[in-house]
Amino acid sequence: MLEIENVSRTFPARRGLFGSTGGVRALNQVNLSVSKGESLGLVGESGSGKTTLTRQILRLDTPTSGRILFEGQDMAKLGPAALRALRARVQIVFQDPYASLNPRMSVHDIVTEPMLIHRGKLGLDRRQRTDRAAELLELVGLGPQHLYRHPHEFSGGQRQRICIARALAPGPSLLLLDEPTSALDVSVQAQVLNLLIDLQERLGLTYFFISHDLGVIRYICDRVAIIFQGEIKEEGRTQQIFDAPKSEYARSLLAAMPEVRVPD
């Protein structure tokens, strides 16, 4: 469904007031593919290029070289209309549920906005959009009573549910999940993770799950790719990588993982 082929992204040198910084190679020859219905986990520490990669996939940024194919189409070659159509198919949930909701908009406006933008494709009128928003809220564990509240009235977990509802609104097939639970407490995290698993099963979604938390990745993903300094260090079945990591980096990462186990 999603193929990332030899994608590199180099940020050019910047001349600042006090001197210049050298170019930064954020992504280096990244190759990944995600098949329909699976969950691919991408693990990496801060600055490893995870977020840069999501921006490439969402076309918020353009790769320096390489290409990204979605359902066989080269995203770089899409015209504006096709790109908009594609935006309905690929959605994202961001890390920080506090920052990713426009504080000036009600939940209703937030959730119906994608339907409004893609109304040509979805063909929903105003009333239908509102009803669909209520349905979506129920789907993610909220209710229609929340429709006209504003984001600041919700807890972090509830906000992340709203983000998920928004992401689901245009009917996507691929969901990018950019550390969707790292800002949440464990108990809430568990709820959100379960919601994601539930939704995947019910809606047949494909997940591209990004996290630095190996435990979460292990819990939710079928396959894992480990990224370090813009390069994919290792990729494979989740079980296989956690049991027998091949690369040095993966080994050290797993060793440092703070597991809840009874000390010796």
């Binding site: 918020l60 994202i92 920080d96 426009n102 906005e113 509102t130 928004r166």
Partner: protein, 295 residues
């Protein structure tokens, strides 16, 4: 179902308003400011009508009654033409306030357009627009306003144009900075990710979120705009006579100090009180609308 949604919607709005009002009420000073501004607005609407000597407001003179000291008939005394100073001060309110408001309004509209264009587009548009507004900021604004006002000739409209011309770059800078910041917000990335057009991103997601600092700046700027209007009047490049304007009144009355101090002190005090009120209110509004800048 829709009805229920709507009642939710209303109660949520009311709740937000109550919260804002609570925070505003926290500061006694901003309440005083609001009261002062209310008084100013009252005189703006009715000052000319309520003036005890409306004929003096229209330029009528009473040369046999010049320079009488404050008394019951003329609480603020009379001026060099025998006009009632109280009437002139009262009638000066709409002039100063509407001029101040017009300056702030024109300046902010221009500035928001320029700042939003620059911040949202970036690239050479940003460079050109911001270099230009930086240039305008470098120029001494009062001298610029004086030069333009002198060029256009006296008059209410010309004065406003002259001041507003030097006023917008402040807004452009503010808005650009805020837009740049808002552009990087996750919810903006989210909006782009769901396929929102740049137009939609700017008007639905970015601008509503930078309204608060702009409104705060506008309310704080009202005072300064009134001051600048008065300053031009004081320099002698302001409205046409007989329009009663505080700065002009002060500038004329200056020659009669100290003997006929009332001709100068009352317009000056009116000016001070109006500006003081707007500044206190602006402070309070900032606390409510822009908690980031809360001190």
């Amino acid at each position: 179902m829709i009805e229920r949604h709507l009642s939710n919607k209303r109660s949520a709005r009311a709740e937000a308003l109550r919260r804002a009002f609570y925070r505003f009420r926290q500061s006694r000073l901003s309440l005083i400011g609001a009261a002062m501004v209310a008084t100013v607005v009252f005189f703006t609407l009715f000052g000319a009508v309520l003036a005890p000597f409306p004929e003096h407001v229209d330029g009528g003179v009473d040369t046999s009654n010049r320079f009488s000291a404050p008394s019951l008939a003329h609480p603020f005394g009379t001026n060099e033409l025998g006009q009632d100073v109280l009437s002139l001060v009262m009638a000066g309110t709409p002039v100063s306030v509407s001029a101040g408001f017009a300056v702030v309004f024109i300046g902010s509209v221009l500035g928001v357009i320029v700042g939003a264009l620059a911040g949202f587009n970036g690239g050479w548009i940003d460079d050109v627009l911001m270099r230009f507004s930086d240039l305008m900021l470098t120029l001494p604004s009062l001298i610029l306003a004086m030069a333009v006002a002198a060029a256009l000739g006296p008059g209410f409209g010309n004065m406003i144009i002259a001041i507003a011309l030097a006023w917008w770059p402040g807004y452009a800078r503010l808005v650009r900075g805020e837009v740049l910041q808002a552009r990087e917000e996750v919810y903006v990335a989210a909006a782009r990710a769901i396929g929102a057009s740049p137009f939609r991103v700017l008007f639905r997601h970015i601008l509503p979120n930078i309204v608060s600092p702009v409104i705060v700046k506008m309310s704080l700027d009202m005072g300064f705009a009134i001051l600048t209007v008065a300053a031009l009047g004081f320099i002698g490049i302001g409205v046409r006579p007989p329009t009663p304007e505080w700065g002009t009144q002060l500038s004329i009355a200056r020659s009669y100090m100290p003997d006929f101090w009332w001709t100068a002190v009352f317009p000056g005090l009116a000016m001070f009180m109006a500006v003081f009120g707007f500044n206190l209110l602006g402070d309070g509004l900032r606390d409510v609308l822009d908690p980031r800048a809360r001190r």
